[in-house]
């Protein structure tokens, strides 16, 4: 029973591919006498497999994008003691459809002195990486879209493309605010890419492979309660996860780090001159980027699709991703924005040293013997001590500059 639901989509996919191949054979029998040759059938099957993957990724995650906007507005509303959208559809669930239609019907204004080509290309180029990133994440037991053995590097390489697009958007629209926003976006994403990659390095060191399916396999135990193997329970894993979350928030320009589109400062940053569906594309790229980063965080640290056998594996992946997205929304409702130079200083002076130290702590963990329970407990404590010591040193260094707490006197 559990396997039926777990492998539901895999079976569905196989059935569809079989259908297409059968149809292909039928067509070839009609026109050229006999069914397709072995190689042709294999090509058709592989082709439909790829098309199926693209359609499902685009369909599932476009829907998730719509629900994410609804979830964000509802959660932020409830944080601020108000209802949030509840007029369009039950509980406001069709709000994103209404927004989509509004975006489609809105006039698409291109500034006169804008650099037409760059202005036009930017939304497309910002959306492409966001969608490509999903190709490398294993969504469930043998439901990985592509089984690359360089998946983690591929994920970051594709992610790097969106910086360029943000710059093109900012530069193309010839607007002072958007240029400020573009330069901020580029500076921020480059300086947070390094802690992001370094946060993923410990996981790759321990697993020994860059392929996401092997990383997920390394975190699985075949017990019913498949939770023990996750990397987040190890000290270096937990530190890496926190680092990864902070860097992922910065990469997807979300709340404490949303200076590229600092609403209150530079109005809307790089997408100030976009309206209509191009603006919706930027919006979609931000949400898809956020969900992709959440997916990678789940894959690297929270044991991918592993989880107690109550829910199917893909449901566990979606649930954990949903929790990380909720955390990002929660951050957005609470924290004010960092300033540009503080953000850079935090990346280079706090995140980078801590990430490097975390790699050192992982090496210590790797070489400590962990055969018996006592030895692994000792290893755990030593690594935890290392990580906490690093955190205390760095936080004292960062908060030393913040100055002593103020005391306020009253007039006599």
């Amino acid at each position: 029973m559990y396997n039926f639901f777990d492998q539901l989509f895999v079976a569905l996919g196989a059935w569809l591919v079989g259908l297409v191949v059968a149809a292909g054979n039928g067509v070839s029998k009609l026109c050229c006498g006999q069914p397709m040759s072995e190689a042709a059938a294999h090509n058709v099957a592989a082709g439909t497999q790829v098309v199926l993957i693209c359609v499902t990724i685009y369909g599932v995650f476009a829907l998730c994008f719509g629900l994410a906007t609804w979830l964000e507005r509802k959660m932020l509303a409830r944080i601020q003691n108000r209802y949030g959208p509840n007029r369009v559809g039950p509980f406001g669930l069709l709000q994103f459809v209404a927004d989509g239609v509004k975006m489609l019907t809105k006039e698409d204004i291109v500034p006169a002195r804008a650099d037409k080509l760059v202005h036009f290309l930017a939304p497309a180029i910002v959306l492409a990486p966001a969608l490509l990133m999903f190709g490398f994440l294993p969504f469930g037991r043998n439901m990985a879209p592509t089984d690359l053995d360089t998946a983690v590097i591929a994920f970051f390489a594709v992610g790097a493309g969106s910086e360029l697009a943000l710059f093109m958007a900012g530069w193309g629209s010839r607007n002072k605010y958007s240029i400020l926003g573009a330069l901020r976006a580029v500076a921020q994403m480059i300086s947070y890419e390094i802690p992001l990659v370094l946060a993923a390095v410990p996981v790759v060191m321990i697993v020994g492979s860059l392929s996401t399916s092997q990383i997920v396999a390394a975190q699985g135990t075949d017990s019913f309660l498949d939770v023990k193997g996750w990397f987040v329970w190890t000290p270096w894993g937990f530190a890496g996860f926190i680092l990864f979350l902070i860097a992922a928030t910065a990469e997807s320009n979300r709340s404490p780090f949303d200076i590229p589109e600092g609403e209150s400062e530079i109005i809307a940053g790089f997408h100030v001159e976009y309206s209509g569906f191009k603006f919706a594309l930027f919006f979609m790229a931000e949400y898809l980027g956020m969900m992709a980063m959440a997916g990678l965080g789940v894959t690297l640290f929270l044991g991918g699709w592993h989880g107690p056998k109550l829910l199917p594996s893909w449901a566990w992946f979606m649930l954990k991703g949903f929790l990380i997205v909720c955390w990002l929304i929660w951050l957005r409702g609470t924290l004010p924005r960092l300033r540009v130079d503080q953000l850079m200083a935090f990346a280079w002076k706090a995140m980078l040293p801590f990430a490097l130290f975390n790699i050192f702590a992982t090496a210590v963990w790797f070489y400590l013997p962990k055969t018996t329970f006592l030895q692994s407990a000792v290893a755990w404590i030593i690594t935890a001590a290392l990580v906490v010591a690093a955190y205390l040193v760095i936080s004292r260094f960062v908060s030393r500059r913040a100055g002593a707490p103020r005391v306020y006197r009253y007039a006599s």
């Binding site: 080509l117 760059v118 590097i153 390489a157 790097a160």
Partner: protein, 167 residues
């Protein structure tokens, strides 16, 4: 000469040509990025996945942005004083390009190892790269990392000088 190779080379050559000839500097840099994607495509074509992704990560992610920042610091972005096609500058350029091309062509022709095509379907070599880098090539690896650290420190010194000037 199957279709994938032709398409890739078209993209690469187009990117390179545009990078040189386009009047708007920003468009030139963006076509340079297209050229980098072409090169990465060749690496994938040669089954060198790891190098292809690193190519995108390093070149498209950082070098292109560096080039754009450099372009931003130049004053006039649309080169107005475009000399004629057959001016002195064009001829010297063509001459240099021809000599470099000839030397490369001669090297490729003479060396036997370079001529046969890549073995198709070889298993991924990420692990091999890692092991080789840490065993046979560890000395060059350390030298390069020293070089990078020096470059980093140099950049910081220039930046510090910049900030001290401005304060």
């Amino acid at each position: 000469m199957d279709t994938a190779f032709i398409i890739l080379s078209l993209i690469t050559v187009a990117g390179a040509v545009w990078a040189v000839t386009l009047r708007n500097l920003i468009h030139a840099v963006l076509s340079l990025v297209l050229f980098f994607f072409g090169i990465a495509g060749f690496f994938f074509y040669l089954n060198a996945d790891f190098v292809g992704w690193v190519q995108i990560l390093v070149y498209v992610g950082a070098v292109a942005i560096l080039a754009i920042f450099a372009v931003m610091l130049t004053h006039n972005l649309t080169a107005e004083d475009e000399p004629g096609f057959f001016s002195l500058r064009w001829l010297t350029g063509m001459a240099i390009a021809a000599t470099v091309g000839a030397v490369l062509w001669f090297a490729i022709r003479s060396n036997a190892a370079m001529s046969q095509t890549a073995p198709a379907g070889v298993a991924s070599n990420v692990a091999d790269i890692g092991r080789k880098m840490m065993t046979d090539w560890v000395v060059p690896f350390e030298v390069v990392s020293l070089l990078l650290t020096a470059a980093m420190i140099g950049a910081i010194v220039i930046a510090m000088e910049q900030i001290s000037h401005r304060k």
